[in-house]
Amino acid sequence: MSLQLLWLVPILPLLGALLNGLGAGRLPRKVVSAIGVGSVGAALVIALGCFATLLGMPGEERFFAQTLFSWIDSGDLSVAVRLGLDPLSAVMMLVVTGVGFLIHVYSTGYMNHEKDYGRYFSYLNLFTFCMLMLVLADNFLVMFFGWEGVGLCSYLLIGFWYTKPSAAEAGKKAFIVNRIGDWGFLIGIFLLFVTFGSLDFGRVFTEAPSILPLGGGMATAIALFLFVGATGKSAQIPLYTWLPDAMEGPTPVSALIHAATMVTAGVYMIARCHVLYALAPTALLVVAVVGAATAVYAATIGLVQKDIKRVLAYSTVSQLGYMFLAMGVSAFAAGIFHLMTHAFFKALLFLGAGSVIHALSGEQDMDRMGGLKKHLPRTHATMLIATLAIAGIFPFAGFFSKDEILWKAFSNGGPILWAAGVIGAFLTAFYMFRLYFMTFHGSERLTPEAKGHLHESPNSMTIPLMLLAVLSLIGGLIQVPLLQGGQRLDAFLEPVFADLARVGGAAAHGAAAAAGHGAAHAAHDPGQEIALMLVSLAIALAGIYVAHRFYVKDPQAPHRLAARARGWYDLLWNKYWVDEIYDARIVQPIVRLSNRLWKDVDAAVVDGAVNGIGRKIEQGAGWLRLAQTGYVQLYALILTVGLVVVFGYLALR
Amino acid sequence: MDLATIIEAVVKVLIVLGFVLMGVPLIVWMERKVLGHMQDRIGPERVGPFGLLQTIADGMKLFFKEDMLPAQADKVVFFLAPGLSIVTALVAATVVPWGDTVTLFGREIGLRITDVNIALLFLLGTTSMGVYGIVLGGWASNSKYPLLGGLRSSAQMISYELAQGISLVPIVMITGSLSLSQIGRAQESMWFVVPQFFAFVIFVICAVAETNRAPFDLAEAETELVAGFHTEFSSMKFALYFLSEYANMMVVAGVAITCFLGAWHGPGPIPGVLWFLIKLSLFLFFFIWLRATFPRLRYDQLMGFGWKVLLPASLLNMAVTAVVLVMKG
């Protein structure tokens, strides 16, 4: 398929969004579904075609750019809406359209009883469009457009049930916290423009090594500001608080936006800007530390949550931490790999959870679940696969990607980062199987109402589950052969990250800063890698074992433990009181300051000035009004005086 | 300007002036006779053979009558108005050609007083000035019937002038000239009444209205306004109005003949000037016939007809002619 069709990939969902949005409430559901699913399906087909074409090209030439139109042309700033396709964006494009398509299909079942069916699909299509613009962007401004667009769609979809106050609040929270991150991102873009005079990826990344000195202040500042944007969008410390609340939205939305695609935008952005980060080792270190910390921190909160979706939300935050850890240790390909596999199994987990919630007529509290294995066989089977995948059990997808990150963390970042990753892995295995056991095993603790309607979900929901299960199962295999060197995805992405070699100081950050190739490859020790793999596998199994002890064999054990370590339990249950701290230390002071500004500055000074000027003008007009006598001939006389003056000037000139 | 030219001009002016002034009694006699016969009576027959001298006698009577001046009348304008009327009528007559050039005493003489190249515009200008005679006459009398008559005729004349002017435009487009003698010459092979029949009809209707004759004689509608704008005029001033009306008829007939009815052209060995006179007589007969046949229009019908029928029709005719001309290349 010709790559010239690339523009259709984002445009088709946009058209779908427009059709469904304009026809909202008037189109029959079947048409809405056809438009919503069809547009993304067609985009997926074209994306696959483009991908195939890209694969058919020689490795070094796998780049295609398409200029749609000139967007801004003002002074030094010249920005075109340009799509760029390279292996990195191709992977992202496939993830977005592929997972997006399945979730659209799933939504036709899940949202079937919804009143605002058309609006939902309009938003979902719009999100797909924005996300595709984000990943296919060829300059920072278009990327920022997509970045803001997905933020908007996230807001709209979290607040989809806007009559519910908590949903509306969660939407606002997500939007505001994202804006804080966007502030950093924007400053990063401004700095880029000041430094390079251009926002095109090609120019910036080509010129960066020659313009920015390695480890220099500017490179570090740009990298850190961009990272602020990434923490906002990808829910990292300290801007992660919005993501758990975002679970107020419909579950497919959680799966698509808050697990598989949008929240990974930060990871993608850092991978895209790897050249800049390679020039800023300090920033890379910050990324790695924040990622590792988030991975462990979020996992600990996930240990005690009772809401099935909240557990998954914290799990997402934790897994995103893994990806940032990978970025931080310059394992860009590994991070993208984990991004991809995570998209599969986390989407599957969310959709499975959605299926459970759907079956239980909206119940989300795991204390009122249990024993659902026999009632929801398909959901159970697929959920089990996903849980195994995220826990990192061989040969599921998560195993490959997580181990690659842990190995890179060890070899590039040192034992401390590795240890954090391993602790995170243990916690992940534990809380995921806690979720699994609490939901599908043990005694049935259902409410009578939920029990009455208990049923397996329709095919439109279970088929996407099964497809995602297959992907979770085999998704990791694209990285075989297992051991370092020669993996397929790495090879595919290699042209993108090859320019790292040009960043002269690859040696400045460990021996293998450059994506596990070149120098890193030489220092590679297969034995050590296998050992590390076995360790993490053992850790994961240990986590599963503990979960089994706690939630299947002895269901009272968790309660006893909680009672014994009351303080710790409360700390985790209340999410380290971070929301409360933010409220007291940041939100309330800002509210107070805003009130002061409103009353003292806006009302007194600004309004005073405006009103004062208005009054003065009124006064002056009152004077001028007297000249308006209503006598036409006086006006004519004044005209004549003007005539005299003009003639006089012309005569005496 | 040599002497011969001056003599030639003076002679031509005298001829035209004499013809118009002498022609008027003849036309009036003809009108009375024709109307009489059409109304199944005899008409004047006592003064002179067939009553031919009746109009002369009437003129003499008017000449000797007392000249009345209404008490509150505007004296200057009251005197000015009839003069204006007759002057515009006679000036208009100067550009109407009554024949082609003839060679006399070794001189090439055009059978018209002047041959200005914008004769048609000149004609429209003088006829538009003709309105003043009537309007001012009506106003200066300081009497309500004349004022109403004056108002009516001013509105009527401006309205019909428009359609009349536009009905002549196709002729100008075909000949590419505003000169009446050029237009006359262009009809040697075909009279313009054939290709421009609609324009001819419109022109004739407008001509009747412009000369304030029945059925468009609203300005002097006896039954409503006593005698319209000239109610208060008597003696010679009345005679001047009378004269100018008939002079105008002759001018308008002359223009119609020149523009539509082949000017001085005609079959047979009859000379052009004679052809012109024959056509003129027939046309004037047609005027009289109209008067005998049609009842007077109501005023609003008159204005509506002018603006809503004649003007659009003449515009349409002009547009169609333009399209046809362009298509013919």
Binding site: L624, G630, Y631, V632, Q633, A636, L643 | -
Partner: protein
């Protein structure tokens, strides 16, 4: 016509005089109708100088301007007289200084 029988300046002075008389009329007459006529007078003064300049320069653009001025004058008179009739119907006056509803 080799000699300059009437110089351009003569036309200009005539136009200026007419224009000035028009100005006076606009400024000192009370009747709106006369004010209108004075405006026509001013327009015609300008027309005269246009035509005179046209003759002087041998370019017909001045004629075109006169043409436009006439069109505008016609429009102005149509509207102006209509307004005048409307005012007269309401207030029984044609004096400009009796109509000052817009005064401040």
């Amino acid at each position: 016509m080799s000699t300059i029988a009437v110089p351009l300046a003569a036309y200009q002075i005539l136009a200026g005089a007419l224009f000035t008389i028009g100005v006076v009329g606009v400024l000192v007459r009370r009747s709106a109708l006369i004010v209108f006529m004075s405006i026509e007078l001013m327009l015609n003064a300008v027309n005269l100088s246009f035509v005179a300049f046209s003759r002087q320069h041998g370019s017909m653009d001045g004629h075109i301007f006169v043409f436009f001025v006439m069109a505008v004058a016609a429009a102005e008179v149509a509207i102006g007289l209509a307004i005048l009739i409307a005012i007269f119907r309401k207030r029984e006056t044609a004096n400009v200084d009796d109509v000052h509803l817009l005064k401040g």
